[in-house]
Structures are given as C-alpha cells and as structure tokens.
C-alpha cells in the first residue's frame, strides 16, 4: 500500500511540475504578446500625426483607452516603458522638427520661429501626448515620484534647446535691442513674446535677464568712452538722461519689472560712475566751470543724475562748497583792499560804506546759493550743510581788524536808522537776512554787545527809524539765539516806552507844582541799570538853569518811588540852545555838555581853557573834545586864540557873535569816543564768566570728568554764543581749582573732580 502511494506522490509531483512549466511558458508567451501589443499601440502615435490640426475623437479615445488598459494591467511591468516612450516622443519631435527649423533661421526670423515653435510644441504637441498618457500620470508617476507629465514637456525642451536659446536666440534679442538703442524702431511685441517663452520655461532670470544685462554692459561701455571724449559735460549729461529714460521705457514695456533695476544700475554705472572724475574735471565745461558760470539747468541735471548713484553727490557737494567759499573769500579780500585804502586816507564815512557793502554782498551771496540748494539741489540736507560750512569760513574773517560781528552790527545800525524807502527790499526782509547771517558768525556775543551799544545810541538820540522794526529784530534774534541773548535789549526798548508814561506824569506834576517848574521843556529818560550799557559818570558842575531841572525831576521821582536811586548821565543828553548871534538868531542842537560850555559865555565873553575846565570840573580830555567841537570843527561858534586846529591848555576862547549859517537850526556834532575797544573788553570778560559758569555746571552734573572731555563739552555748551579759546578755558579751570571748586584727581592728573 505504501509503495503505491509513494509512486503516486512522485507522479503527482511530476505532473505538478509539468503543469508549472507549461504555465510559465504560457505566461511568458502572454507577456511577449502584451509587449507586442504595446509596441503596436504606441507606434500608433505617429509624431507627424500629432501635428495634425484636428483631433480625431475616436483615435484619441482609443489611444487613451489602450494606455489605460496597459497601465491598469495586473502586472505593472510596462509603466516604465510607457513613461520613457512618452519622453521619447517629446524628444523626437524636438529633434526632428523644431531644431532643424531653428537652425535655418537667423536674427529676427529666428526669434519669430523660436516663439512659434514653442507655442506649437507646448500647446499642441505636448498637450496631445499628455492627453493620451494621462492615466499614467495619475498613479504611476505619483507613486514612483517621477517628474510629472506636464513638466516632462518643459524639461525636454530645455534639455535639448538650452544652448541654442542661450547663444543664438539671445544674440538675436540683444542685436534687436541694440538696434533700438541706436535709434531704429523694432518689433517690441516680438521681444515681449520671447520674454513670455522664457518665463514659461522658468529660465527668465537664468538666460534672458543675465544675457540682456551683459549686453547692456557691453553696449554702454563702448558708448561711454566714445561720448566722454566727444562731448562737453552738459552735453554728456543730456545724453545720459535721455538714455536712462529710454532704457526705463523699454524695459517697462518689454521685460519683467525686476529687470529694470538691474539694467538701469548697469547703465548708471557705466555712464555715470566710471567716468565721473573725467566728467567733472573737464576743463571748459566741468563742474567747477558750471558753478562759476551759473549754469543752473546743467547743475540741476547733474544733481538729478548723480543722486541716483550711491554716494554720487559727494563730489558735487564738495565742489559746491569750494565754489561758495571761494566766492566769499574773494569778497572778503576785495573789501580788505578797499578798506585799507580808506583807512590810509582816514575816510571814516567811506570805510563804513565799504563795510556795509560787504555785508550786503554776503546777504546777496547767501540768497543766491540758498536758492541753488532749494531749486536745483532739491533741498538736499547735505548741501545745506556744506553751504553753512562755507559761509562759516568766510563770515568769520576780520576785515582790517574789524571783526565780522562788529561789521554786522554796523550794517544793522544803518538799516534801522534809515527810513524804509528802500525799493528792493522791505526793512523786515533785510532784518531776516541779518539774522540768517548771524547764524554763521561764531562770535555771536560780540555782535550782541555791539548791537546793544548802537541800539542805546539810536534809542537815546532818537535815530531809530521805527520802534516796530527794532522789536521785530529782537523777536527774530530771540527765536534764533535764545531769550538770554535779547533780554537786555528788550529791556532797553521797554524802558523807552515806559518813559512816555513818566514824561506824562512829570508834566502833570509840574502843572500841579508850578513853583518847581524850571521854565524849560525838560524830557528825562529813565534807564534801568542792568539793561543799558554802562556809561561812565563823571563829576560835573551843572549850570544853574539845568540844576533847577534836575531838582524838579528829582522831587517828582521821589513821589513815585522812594526806593530807587537815580544817577544822572549828562554825557548822553541833548539840548536846544537859542543863540542870539548878530546876523540872526539861531537854534543850536548840542549835547548837554556842549550846552554847559556855551552857557558859561553868558556871563563872560572871553574865557581861557583852564577857566572853562575849572568851572565845569570835567576831566581834561573831555574838555578838549568839547572845545574842539565848538571851535575847530564845522561850526565855529567860539573863536579860538590862537586859531589852530588843535586845542592846547593855553588857548583862549571867545563868543563868536558873527557866527551864522544858511539854516536857522543847526546840529553841532560831537564826535563820540571810539569805545570799540571797551566793547571788546566787556565781551571778553563776560566770556570768562560764561566759561566759568559752564565749567561749574558741567562738573556739578558729571562729578568726575577727564580734561579733554571737559574742554569739548565746554566748547559745545557755549557754541551757540561764541567759540571759546581753549587757553582761556584752561585758565578758568586752574582758577576754579585754586578757589576750591574743583580738584585734580590724586591718581590721574588729567581727571577733575567736583568739590561740593
């Protein structure tokens, strides 16, 4: 029994094996059959047939269905083959049809062919193939993570035509664009189409942009060297401006916006940056010459062009600064020469005229160049800065020993004395100009002091044209320089206004107390001591008539305030004296002191120098000056023995009854002492105090500070008023140390410590 089953088992096995091999063979056959079917089916897709304009509906579905069947087959063996066939179809089309066509054409026709080939390829050929193989894309491609069917189309195109595109196609594009740059009209639509192709292929940046920018570089390199040698600076700039406009226009029209910046910066670089030095330094038309000739249109263009380039304006700015400085310095030098001439001749009037003239020239210069910055340099802050620096250079130059602060104050004085009949400018505009110039002057406190002196004189002798203008100037100065700058001056102006009140009350008082009335018209101006410049008071014997006036006012003033004390400044007063001369009676307008001299001759006809001096009890120099003004100057009211031009102590003076003049009312001038030096002294000592105060303030805040830092901070704090001399700061530090305000650090001698 067992033997039989063994045999049976063996036979069974053999039979099984036979079955298996048969099966294998059958499978193999089937596979080959399938393969053949696939080949057949795929061969149905003729490449040339793809280009047919119309789609055969049945054929389409058939192909799709065939591929579907193969793809959904239980053994997925043919998918790979189909995928590669798909690629192969694309490549074959490109190689057989597209490339040969492209190679046949050149230039513009090449571009046209390129564009149409791509259109046909992507829209017709590729789409159809995609249609048939669509089912493959859904599962197989995604599963195997292969390049999806859509992208295969682009990829094949790129792989086969990359070199072609990069070289021949782009050459043609560049050639076309250069033609337009040279002035011809080209087919921009074609360029746009080519751009689109590259964009669809995602090669815009790599191929198109890169080569266009390179082409731009080449083109403008050549043009730049040509133009710079042939053209003057303005002509060149004009060309550059035109080019930039054209390029921007073209890029915006044809290409992608990102390219604009790249191309424009290339153009700017080649045309503006590389040759900038050559351009500026051109001898007959360069930057310097443009400024000198005032060629503002060209300058404005230069500004516009170079403001595009990074750091492009440095050079222009510097040239502008140098030009303005040179102009200013030329004015200074010219005035210096003129002034020296007048100094030699001792012609004070002409000297003053020159000085005033200089300030006016400065103002004009400032106006002109400010308008430059605003109108042509687009109010660029860098240019404002260099304008300021330039002005600071020459506005601080002294002319023949007279500091610019003083010059400005002289100008100011003239402006405020004049009647506002100046047609060109209103007084207020001139005042504005003065304040603008003041900003550039470093010794502002010097100006303040001089101005205060002159203001005092104007106010007291009623020379000021208008109170309003004075106030206007003060307001402006307060705005620019701070309240402390103008506080004293404002006080002065206020005093004058108050005086009107006082005078009215005084008149009432005299009416009420007729016995006090001195019998003359008396106007007293009360000055608050801190505001007005200090005037020296001197011993003086008043004539009796005047004494009465003084008494009356004294009494009156007591009724108003018991606490304030008044000191009389006779040197500042004016007096109108009636002179009964033989030819005719005349009114003489003189100073109080001159009047007292003349009144002496009421009681005596002839007086000696010493007589006069004793009676008046004045210092010698004053007496000399007084007598000179009355006997040796323009109006000889007193006769002098001997009749020389100078006063000596042995002279005799006699009332000149024969004196007369054309006018009935004359003003006898009394030359003022040159107190310039005094003003400067005052300012210098004030500065010392200011420095000291600043040092103390800084040290109080900082407690400990190094030497250099202290110096620099001090200078900075004071910079709005004046520029301090470092030696003086040092002196003040030493003085403060000796007075135990500061001490030197024991370890480091250059560090200071504040002592509370």
């Amino acid at each position: 029994m067992e033997e039989k089953t063994l045999k049976d088992m063996k036979e069974e096995e053999i039979r099984k094996m036979e079955k298996k091999t048969l099966k294998d063979m059958k499978e193999k056959e089937e596979k080959e059959e399938e393969m053949r079917k696939l080949e057949l089916m795929l061969s149905n897709i003729e490449i040339k047939g793809l280009s047919n304009e119309t789609l055969d509906g049945i054929k389409c579905m058939t192909l799709y269905t065939d591929i579907y069947i193969v793809a959904t087959d239980s053994n997925q063996v043919f998918n790979a083959k189909m995928y590669s066939k798909y690629k192969e179809f694309h490549n074959d089309y490109l190689n057989d049809i597209v490339l040969p066509h492209l190679r046949l054409h050149h230039g513009e026709f090449l571009l046209k062919e390129f564009e149409t080939s791509w259109a046909h390829y992507s829209k017709v050929i590729h789409n159809r193939l995609h249609l048939y193989f669509r089912y493959l894309g859904r599962y197989y491609v995604a599963r195997e993570k292969l390049l999806n069917l859509n992208d295969v189309g682009n990829r094949c195109f790129i792989d086969l035509l990359y070199e072609e595109m990069r070289s021949r196609v782009m050459d043609a594009v560049i050639c076309l664009i250069n033609k337009e740059r040279d002035g011809a009209k080209i087919d921009r639509e074609l360029v746009k189409k080519v751009v689109n192709v590259f964009e669809e292929l995602k090669l815009y940046e790599d191929i198109f942009e890169e080569r266009i920018v390179a082409g731009t570089k080449d083109y403008y390199s050549k043009k730049a060297s040509l133009w710079i040698s042939e053209n003057s600076c303005p002509e060149f700039m004009l060309k550059v401006e035109e080019c930039l406009e054209k390029e921007e226009n073209m890029v915006r029209d044809c290409m992608k916006p990102a390219t604009e910046q790249k191309i424009v910066s290339e153009v700017e670089h080649k045309l503006l940056v590389l040759h900038s030095t050559q351009l500026f330094d051109k001898e007959y038309s360069g930057l310097k010459k443009l400024l000198e000739d005032g060629k503002v249109v060209d300058l404005a263009r230069m500004y516009r062009l170079y403001s595009r380039v990074h750091d492009g304006l440095q050079h222009v700015c510097l040239a502008f600064k140098n030009h303005v400085t040179a102009q200013g310095m030329a004015l200074v030098r010219q005035t210096e020469i003129e002034v020296n001439k007048h100094v030699v001749k001792n012609d004070v009037g002409a000297l003053q005229n020159q000085q005033v003239h200089l300030i006016m020239e400065f103002i004009k210069l400032h106006e002109v160049y400010l308008s430059y910055v605003n109108d042509y340099f687009q109010s660029n802050s860098m240019f404002f800065k260099v304008l300021k620096e330039a002005f600071e250079v020459f506005c601080n130059k002294s002319i023949a020993g007279v500091s610019p602060a003083e010059l400005l104050s002289i100008f100011c004085d003239q402006t405020l004395k004049k009647k506002s009949c100046d047609n060109d400018k209103s007084t207020e505009d001139t005042i504005d100009d003065v304040v603008k110039l003041l900003v550039y002057i470093s010794d502002k406190d010097m100006f303040a002091e001089f101005h205060r002196k002159k203001l005092a004189r104007r106010l007291l002798f009623n020379k000021s044209d208008s109170d309003e203008h004075e106030r206007y100037l003060l307001t402006k100065l307060k705005q620019k320089c701070g309240r402390h700058f103008t506080s004293k001056m404002e006080g002065m102006v206020t005093d004058l206004t108050l005086c009107q009140d006082t005078t009215a009350s005084f008149t009432d008082y005299l009416r009420d107390n007729p016995d006090m009335n001195p019998g003359f018209d008396l106007t007293v101006t009360v000055l608050t001591i801190g505001f007005w410049p200090s005037y020296k008071t001197c011993t003086f014997n008043l004539p009796p008539e005047m004494l009465r006036c003084v008494e009356a006012f004294k009494q009156f003033y007591q009724t108003r305030t018991k606490r304030t004390r008044i000191t009389w400044l006779f040197s500042l007063g004016t007096c109108t004296i009636v002179g009964k001369f033989e030819p005719k009676t005349m009114d003489l307008i003189v100073t109080t002191l001159q009047a007292s001299v003349l009144l002496l001759f009421n009681s005596a006809n002839r007086l000696s120098y010493s007589d006069i001096k004793d009676q008046l009890d004045l210092p010698e120099e004053d007496v000399t000056r007084l007598l000179h003004s009355l006997s040796c100057a323009k109006y000889k009211i007193l006769k002098k023995e001997p009749d020389t031009k100078t006063i000596s102590k042995t002279d005799y003076f006699e009332f000149n009854s024969m004196f007369t003049d054309r006018l009935k009312r004359i003003k006898v001038p009394f030359p003022l002492v040159d107190d310039r030096k005094k003003v400067i002294e005052t300012v210098v000592s004030d500065r010392r105090h200011a420095i000291e105060a600043a040092i103390v303030r800084i040290m109080k805040f900082r407690k400990v500070l190094g030497h250099h830092q202290l110096m620099s901070e001090c200078a900075e704090v004071l910079s709005s008023t004046f520029r301090p001399d470092f030696k003086i700061i040092k002196l003040q530090i030493e003085s403060l140390i000796s007075r135990d305000y500061l001490e030197r650090d024991s370890k480091d001698h250059s560090v200071y410590r504040y002592l509370a």
Partner: protein, 128 residues
C-alpha cells in the same frame, strides 16, 4: 469653441453598444478625462464635434455616469442629496469612474463597495 453660459452646449457620449447620451457640456466636464479632451487645443474635426465614444463602457454604466454628472453639479450648487448606487454595479461603476477620472464618484463607489463587502462578508479576498 466659444461656449457662453447662455447657450447650453451639449455633448454626445456614445456607449460600447452604440447608445448615444446627449448631455450638457458642463455636466460632462465633471469628468476630467472628458474635460481634457474637449479643451485640448486643435479641436475636433467637424464630423466629430462634441462627441466622444467609449468602447469600453457599457450603456447601463454610462447611464449611471451621466446621472452622476448631474447629481454632482447639483451637489456643488448646494443641494446635498444622496446618490444611490445599486450594489451590483459598484465594481463596474468604480472602474468606469477611474477610467473617466471622477474623483468623487470613485470615493462614493468605494464607500458602497466597502459597505457591500461588510454585508456580504467574503468579497475581500477576491479584490486587489
């Protein structure tokens, strides 16, 4: 092809047996495959304008497919109703849906198939 929304354009779907189903173009476009065919540039020849033959799809299935198209449009515009599938045709329907690339139908059919499987209980081994 200028298809305006005003004028209802029709397409003809022909089954394996030769039955012709004329439906709205918009409905037919629910099928990705049909959509690609109809929007492929180059267009059909005049005789074959707007008609697609499906030699592999039986009439009954194609009919169901057409119903599906319309249901899909309604569903998309807000009418959320159920789409009933007879269990016998689920497999064929699913394959047709696959062929025609109807995403939703596939999933619906799959759904039904699963349910049928649960009910019948022994389908599982046979399917892939």
């Amino acid at each position: 092809m200028e298809g305006t929304t005003k004028k209802a354009e029709m397409v003809k779907l022909i089954s394996a047996e030769g039955f012709e189903f004329v439906i709205d173009k918009q409905a037919a476009m629910v099928s990705q495959t049909i959509r690609n065919m109809l929007t492929s540039p180059g267009g059909f020849s005049e005789t074959q304008q707007g008609q697609v033959t499906f030699p592999e799809i039986s009439t009954h299935i194609l009919e169901k497919i057409c119903q599906y198209f319309y249901w899909s449009l309604q569903f998309a515009s807000g009418k959320e109703t159920e789409f009933h599938i007879e269990p016998e045709i689920t497999l064929d329907l699913m394959m047709a849906a696959n062929y025609l690339h109807l995403g939703r139908a596939q999933s619906i059919a799959q759904d039904y198939k699963l349910r049928a499987r649960e009910q019948c209980g022994f389908f599982g081994k046979a399917s892939k």
